[in-house]
């Protein structure tokens, strides 16, 4: 069964996509690395950003973390606060 997952976009990722969130299909058992791959396929410009991180439910996530459609997922491009 295919579900969907929504991904929040900030900063340069929002500017490059023109959207503050994108919705992507989520296959059963998909991991963070799979999600990044399908985002890069849909928005090749994002693949050019060095050291992109992913947050799941407000915490930095490792590439092998499994996702569920109820997760709050965000792309975290290099931060520059302060």
């Amino acid at each position: 069964m295919n579900t969907q997952i929504s991904v929040l976009l900030f900063g340069i990722t929002r500017d490059l996509t023109g959207q503050s969130a994108v919705t992507l299909p989520l296959t059963e058992g998909a991991r963070v690395s799979d999600l990044l791959e399908s985002i890069h396929a849909q928005f090749p410009d994002l693949a050019r950003i060095r050291s992109m991180m992913v947050a799941v439910n407000g915490e930095y996530a490792e590439p092998d973390l499994a996702l569920s459609s109820s997760d709050e997922v965000a792309l975290i491009p290099p931060v520059s606060g302060g």
């Binding site: 491009p77 931060v79 606060g81």
Partner: protein, 136 residues
Amino acid sequence: MVSITSDPIDVSSALTLLQSDQAGAIDFFLGMVRDNTQQRSVDHLEYEAYDRMAISEMRKIVEQAREQWTILKCVVVHRKGTLRVGEIAVLIGVSTPHRADSFDACRYIIDTIKQTVPIWKKEVFTDGETWVNAHP
């Protein structure tokens, strides 16, 4: 106390929050918007935050500081939105019994904020704009 605000940051209110009869030292760090970066003239900055996660990451940093130094009170306020030259982008305040701890803790907090907290700064120049650290 950790917060993100769209309003100007007020140092006097922060000082009130840091007061403690046991405090022998208070260190404040203010990150200011300056008028140039790498010789380019800055018109203004745009700060954007993933608020929920930024608050939780800043709280973690304060906890890490409390594990390393004797801290009485700690205030971290980060601004977001449009900031003009001369405005305060971030305030870190730490009160401690002894002065070395106030400097060390304050410096640790600002250094770590710049590495891990999901807040992004866009420099808007008179002739273009850049997301700092991230522009491909």
